[in-house]
Every structure is written in C-alpha cells, then in structure tokens.
C-alpha cells in the first residue's frame, strides 16, 4: 500500500512538472527575446523593397545635390574676367 501511494505521488509530481513545463515553453514561443526582435527588424529593413527604395532614393538625392551644387564653378567667371599676366 505504501509503495503504491509513493508511486502515485511521484507520478502526480511528474505530471505537474510536465504541465508547468509545457506552459512555460508556450510562453517562450509567443514572446521573442529582444535579440530576436532586433534580428527580425534588420531582416525587415532589407526584406521590403519599397522601404529600402525610400532610403536609397533619399541618399541618391543627397549625392545628386552634392554633385550639382559645386562651389568650384562660382570662381570661374571672376577668374576669367581678371585673367592677365
């Protein structure tokens, strides 16, 4: 009788651990860690073409603006007008 009681008690404790363990595992699956969130964000940035395109277009405009708006050309008229030796 004693053995039977011990066996039942052990089994119950095992089941309780099993159920509690399952619950914790489900929780972990639902909530990703911060690290996982960062990785996902980085992937997102490169995954969506339209989002990436907007960033690329903005950089492109910066480059064109720099290329077109050059101060070197401002001095030319004065230099040529004053040309003498």
């Amino acid at each position: 009788m004693k053995r039977f009681t011990i066996a039942i008690l052990s089994l119950t404790i095992l089941i309780m651990f099993f159920v509690a363990g399952c619950l914790r595992m489900t929780e972990t699956e639902i909530k990703p860690s911060d690290e996982q969130a960062i990785i996902s964000y980085e992937q997102q940035e490169t995954e969506d073409e339209a989002v990436n395109e907007m960033s690329a277009d903005i950089s492109d405009v910066d480059a064109i603006d720099d290329d077109m708006d050059t101060d070197d050309l401002d001095v030319l008229a004065q230099d040529l007008n004053d040309l003498d030796w």
């Binding site: 039942i8 119950t12 089941i15 997102q44 903005i58 030319l76 008229a77 230099d79 007008n81 040309l83």
Partner: protein, 411 residues
C-alpha cells in the same frame, strides 16, 4: 485510505490545470473584447455614412478613416454631407490630408473636397511622369559617370594651369620692358597657361551641364515637356562653350586671349542661374518620386495596422507614429509644391537678379522638403521595427500590372 489518496491525486492534478485554463480564458476574453470594439467602430461608420461606402473600397481604408473621424466631433456631420464619389475620394486621402480637411469649417472642407478627383492609373506609372527605356537609362547613367570624371579632370587641369600662371605672373614682374630670351619664354608660357585656363574652365562648364543633362535624360519623375526644354537649352549652351574653346585655341595674341576669357566669363554668368534652376528641377523631380512612394507606403502601413487589429494586436503606439509619418510627408509635399511653383515662374524670368533670388528660394524649400523626408524615413524604419516586434507583417506590394485609383488635386 486507498480511495482517499487517489481522490487527493486527482484533485491535485485538476488544481495544476487551473492556471492554464485561466490563461486560455483570458485570451478568449481579450479577443472577444477586440471583436466588440471592432463591431462598435463598424456600427459607428455605418452611422456616419449610411450606405455610402463603395463596395470596392478596401476595408482598411474605412478602418483608418474611422480612427481619425472617431476623434473629431464635427467629422460625423461632414461625412454625412459627402456624396458617394467624394466619400471614395476622402477614404483615399492620406491621414494628414483627412485631418487637414476635418480641421476646416464645413464650408471650407467641402470646397477643399471639390479640388480632388479620382484617376485610374496603372501601378507601374504611379511613381513616374514618363517611361524611359532601360537601354536609354543605362546610356544616360554611363554618360553621367563619364561627365563626372571629365569634370574632375578638367578641374584639376584648370587648377594646375592657374597655379602655374600665378608663378609666371610673379616672375614676369622682373621682365618689365625686358626682351631677354627668358622673359620671352615666360610670356609664351603665361599665354599657354591662360589659354589652358580658358579651355579647361569651359570644359568644366560643359561637363557640369552634361551631368545635369544626363540626370534629366534618366529622370522618369520629370515630365517629357520640361525634360526636352532643359536638354535643348543645355545643348545650346554647350555649343556656345565649344565655340569659345575653338576661339581660345586659335587665339594668338595676349589681347585675343584676354578677350575670349571675358567672353567665356560673361557666358557663364548668363548660364549659371539657369543651370542652377535646371539642377534644382532634377532634384525636385526626385523629391516628387519619394513623396509618391511614401504616400503609397502609408497606404500599406494602414492596411497592415488594420490586419493587426483584426488579429487582436494593440496598434495604438504604431498608429501614432504612422500619423507622424503622414504629417511629415504632407509637409514635405507642401514644400515640394511651393518649390515647383517658384521654379515654374523662374523658367519665365528674364531678369538675372530675380532669377537668382527665385532659384535660391526654391532651393531652400527643396532642402527643407528633403529634411522632412529624411525624418519621415527615420520614422518609417521605426514603424517597420515596431510592426515586426508586435507580430505583424507589412502588407505585401501589389502586382505592377494592377490598376488603382489615385487622388488627383487640381492646382
């Protein structure tokens, strides 16, 4: 005793299951609560606009509008007064545009609505004002890179010639009224370097103009008429400059060289603000493209948030960021339009000083629009991160061959 132990075990087992069942129940309750909110919002919309929402209007547009109208008391009366077509238009406006209209008194709001109409456009043309063949785009890009390199080469040669001429000028101070072999050679060298300065400065101007021309040639965001106008004007300037180069190379005397230098100087003064205007047009056209893409992105974000709400995800924080994003884009659009209006007048301006002032003002507005777009882009990256972190998925891009309605605003 045996029975008591077994009963105890069963009770213990059942007790261990209680937290799990509670968790499940909470989830169900939360879902039911979200469903109730959605039902209430849907009913509210039906009240606002009984029977006026077109069957084809995407549900997410309705939900986004609901979020905005539910916070504004006067919205109900305004929405009731809209015709079916106006209602469709209103649903397609950006968040910032909707808020702008709802902030007006009823009469002004209806007047503002009169300016809008719907146009069916193919998605591939949504962000373009003209279509350029891939082959032509490639050629323009290659030519641009060549012009960029040639510009740098001409600039280096110009600076080198300028530096040498400065040295020769210093040395020639000792040659006043002197006809020694050394002085004659020095004068010759100075003449040659002066000629080089003229030729290389003209080449710098030509290559700079070529860079603008090639950017115009590859700009699908610029309309055909304006592009042709710019290219034709630039070609005219390049011909004048090439002619000046030929004259400089043929010039033999100091007087002839100095004369042609003055001619190129005057020519550049005449060209300078026109080329600045053309360069600004290229940049502003690109800003238009970014604004159009951003407006489309806002729609995809709205659709995403509606999907997330359906899944029971709280989107309040993200929704606020999308509002900010929409506001930034609307502000950038306003700056873009002001710049465009200024540039349109600049194309007709003949007075040099006025042209310079208008171009400076337009460039300032373009820069401000660009800063706003940068801020919007920062927000967009945050929004995408937040959506992903909350378990959402950005609504995928629709196929390119699909047609869609676009809201067009009269000037």
């Amino acid at each position: 005793m045996k029975k008591q132990i077994i009963s105890l075990m069963i009770v213990l087992l059942l007790a261990s299951m209680i937290p799990a069942s509670f968790a499940k129940e909470n989830g169900q309750q939360s879902n039911t609560a979200t469903a109730n909110v959605q039902q209430v919002t849907a009913k509210r919309l039906v009240n606002i606009n009984s029977g006026q929402i077109a069957a084809k209007t995407e549900e997410w547009r309705v939900k986004t509008t609901q979020r905005i109208t539910s916070k504004i008391e006067s919205a109900e009366q305004f929405m009731k007064g809209l015709s079916e077509e106006q209602n469709n238009i209103f649903l397609r406006l950006s968040r910032a545009q909707q808020k702008g209209i709802l902030a007006m008194d009823n009469e002004s709001a209806f007047q503002a609505m009169e300016k809008f109409s719907l146009k069916l456009v193919n998605k591939s043309l949504m962000f373009k004002k003209r279509v350029i063949a891939q082959e032509k785009l490639k050629i323009a890009e290659n030519n641009y890179m060549k012009a960029k390199q040639n510009y740098l080469m001409a600039m280096n040669s110009y600076k080198e010639a300028k530096g040498l001429l400065l040295q020769e000028k210093k040395m020639l101070r000792q040659c006043t009224d002197s006809e020694t072999e050394e002085c004659i050679q020095l004068r010759e060298r100075a003449e040659n370097h002066s000629r080089e300065m003229i030729v290389n400065s003209a080449n710098m101007m030509i290559e700079h103009l070529n860079k603008i021309k090639e950017k115009v040639n590859s700009s699908e965001e610029m309309d055909e008429e304006r592009a042709e106008e710019i290219v034709s004007e630039i070609n005219g300037y390049i011909s004048e400059l090439e002619n000046a180069i030929a004259q400089a190379e043929a010039a033999e005397t100091k007087a002839e060289i100095k004369e042609i230098a003055k001619t190129v100087s005057k020519l550049w003064i005449r060209i300078r603000n026109r080329e600045r205007l053309h360069a600004a047009s290229v940049v502003n056209a690109r800003e238009w493209g970014i604004i159009k893409r951003s407006e489309h992105l806002e729609e995809r974000l709205d659709s995403t948030l509606a999907d997330m709400e359906e899944q029971g995800i709280n989107v309040a924080g993200i929704d606020e960021k999308v509002n900010e994003f929409s506001e930034k884009i609307e502000q950038a659009k306003s700056k873009y339009e002001q710049a465009q209006d200024l540039m349109d007048t600049a194309y007709l301006e003949e007075d040099k000083e006025n042209l310079k002032r208008i171009v400076d003002e337009a460039k300032q507005l373009i820069d401000e629009a660009h800063e706003l777009l940068k801020e919007a882009n920062k927000l967009l990256v945050e929004i995408v991160r937040d959506i992903k972190a909350a378990g959402g998925e950005i609504t995928p891009e629709t196929e390119d061959d699909e047609d869609d309605y676009e809201v067009v605003e009269e000037d």
